[in-house]
Symmetry: C2
Subunit: 104 residues, 2 copies
Amino acid sequence: MAGLADLGRFSEPALHILISLASGPRHGYAMQDDIGELTGARPGPGTLYGAIRRLEEHAYIEALPEQDRRKPYRLTDTGRAALGAELQRMRSLAATGLRRLAVA
Amino acid sequence: MAGLADLGRFSEPALHILISLASGPRHGYAMQDDIGELTGARPGPGTLYGAIRRLEEHAYIEALPEQDRRKPYRLTDTGRAALGAELQRMRSLAATGLRRLAVA
DNA sequence: TCCCTTACTACGTCCCGCGTAGCATCGCAG
DNA sequence: CTGCGATGCTACGCGGGACGTAGTAAGGGA
């Protein structure tokens, strides 16, 4: 298995982080801004860094050398694969739901 | 706002229930089966009926007259609208993520 | 020197997810 | 008519992620 769901039951913030890192390495604060633009809701530090810690433990992301008191992170290959799988699942589920809504 | 996120922070099971009801009224047990087919994971009763209760409190779904010790539920107009909005958000987020993955 | 911004750590509460157990009803086989 | 599996739901408790708040610290501009 080894899907995103292993991160615990609720993985929305984790998903957002991975999507944010999909466009290149970023440190925490920049992720907050990016996710805020992406979703309309900027996660607080508790949410963000908690999710980062779990993602790192699962080797979906990894820290780059600290620069200027910033800790950038990037996707690992594992994380990239997990993200791709999850996004396709999401897209398929959304399509199914929208189809059902349209018919009924 | 009044989006799905008001159901609490984690709403995956709630989303699945709404999608299940999008194809017509169903009672709990039938939802379990439907969701199992849809997602590959059949929710336990604790998950399911807890989410049903919250959805009913928010008037996204409503109970139909009990028949034969079965409690069918159906989507309300509010629920249908919320589901549509959520699914479009999901689809859009998935598309953005997949685009980013493809480029990088 | 003051203060705003950036960047992260620490901490505690809330409540959702999920499994387990229990209970009742129905249909069917023996 | 009796045991038994499937159906359908309620009750209950634990674990842990989500999230807000507060605190720390460095940098830059007025």
